[in-house]
Assembly symmetry: C2
Homo-oligomer: 208 residues x 2
DNA sequence: CGGCATCCGTGACGATACTG
DNA sequence: CAGTATCGTCACGGATGCCG
């Protein structure tokens, strides 16, 4: 087997792309930043990826130290994939890409898939340092740990413990916030965001 | 022609990757951040890219508003490619990728190509706001505009006007600085960086 | 049923040759 | 100089099958 395709450039950007430049790789990281996932869950949340490509990417990423595979103790006996610290360091890359991609997001097309937690990364920048926030969208709810240095940065479903804030909004408001077109305070004042919870952020927002 | 391959996900990261996720695209942006380039120059500084792929990428990037093609006035009558403001906004993406890739850079392999200006982006973070800096490596020299909001962020060859600082160093020192393993001041004290020029940075470094 | 491996058709890629 | 044309190879996407 010939060595896998590389750029062969002594440049840190090219080296990074050697590791995460393949199709699907960064989106797999995006998924795993929401916590450990089984193979089947990954396949379900990455519509379009074929089974062999997903398996191949996970193998490459494990070899390259981006993800680990862990067997859950019985009962269950399923294995889950999770991101390593090294893989988690790709968060700034995903945030930069996401910030740049906001301008190209546009309206949701008829063939576009959506998952609620895909909105977590943009909000993470906005809410930096505000603690555990639970977010409710029409597409579902998720939670994010804004400002935590380790552990998962977000997760699907309700927050595991009482969150510092609870936000109810729609995707249009969500993308407007992410693009910086709308300030969170203004969105709350305009009634486009409902605020719950007892953390500092939640109280401050309700004061408006 | 069927619509080109997209992820079809309503997610800003996926949308960004639809536009810049193809092989070579981000490296073309890296090249053009060093200023306008002719087709042949791009081909020479991107070893491994085939002529048709390069032409195809440039066409896609022009259509997507990342680059523009400009015909130089005669004599010369050659056309050059340059990055648009929208394309220039990819700088944070390249910096994040570069910062992450530093850890994987390692030693220069026997098949690795090198260009001096590939070290500009990492140094740009380090020297942010210090003005026009000319950098001398064994591989060549380049200059960078640290902290300018527009215009090219770097360029090959000597600075077009008298730079605020002139730094002479080797690639090992350069990567150590980029990784944050070495502070610029310490590198100067250790004699690993020679400092010239009359700007604030240059004078401060010589004070040590 | 979850976690792949295999097969196959299509498109993307890389090298070379050629042209306005 | 700046690409287009051609072609062999490989990566990708979709479907199906195997095996615990």
């Amino acid at each position: 087997m010939p060595p896998r395709r590389r750029y062969d450039q002594y440049c840190s950007v090219a080296r990074a792309l050697d590791l995460v430049g393949d199709r699907w790789t960064l989106l797999i990281v995006r998924e795993l930043l929401a916590g450990a996932r089984r193979y089947t869950d990954l396949h379900a949340d990455l519509p379009g990826v074929s089974t062999d490509v997903l398996a191949s990417r996970l193998r490459d990423m494990e070899r390259d130290g981006l993800v680990t595979r862990r067997r859950l103790p019985p009962p269950g006996a399923v294995s889950v994939y999770e991101v390593t610290p090294r893989g988690r360091e790709l968060l700034p890359v995903l945030q930069a890409l996401g910030a740049w991609g906001e301008a190209a997001l546009g309206e949701r097309g008829p063939t576009d898939a959506v998952r609620a937690h895909w909105f977590a990364l943009p909000l993470l920048r906005l809410l930096d340092g505000e603690g555990l926030v639970e977010v409710h969208l029409e597409e579902g709810l998720f939670h994010l740990y804004a400002g935590s240095a380790q552990g998962p940065v977000c997760g699907d479903g309700p927050a595991p413990v009482e969150p510092d804030a609870r936000l109810v909004l729609d995707t249009a408001t969500c993308t407007a916030l992410s693009r910086g077109e709308l300030a969170l305070a203004d969105a709350v004042r305009a009634g486009r965001v409902e605020v719950g919870g007892e953390g500092a952020l939640a109280k401050a927002l309700r004061e408006l």
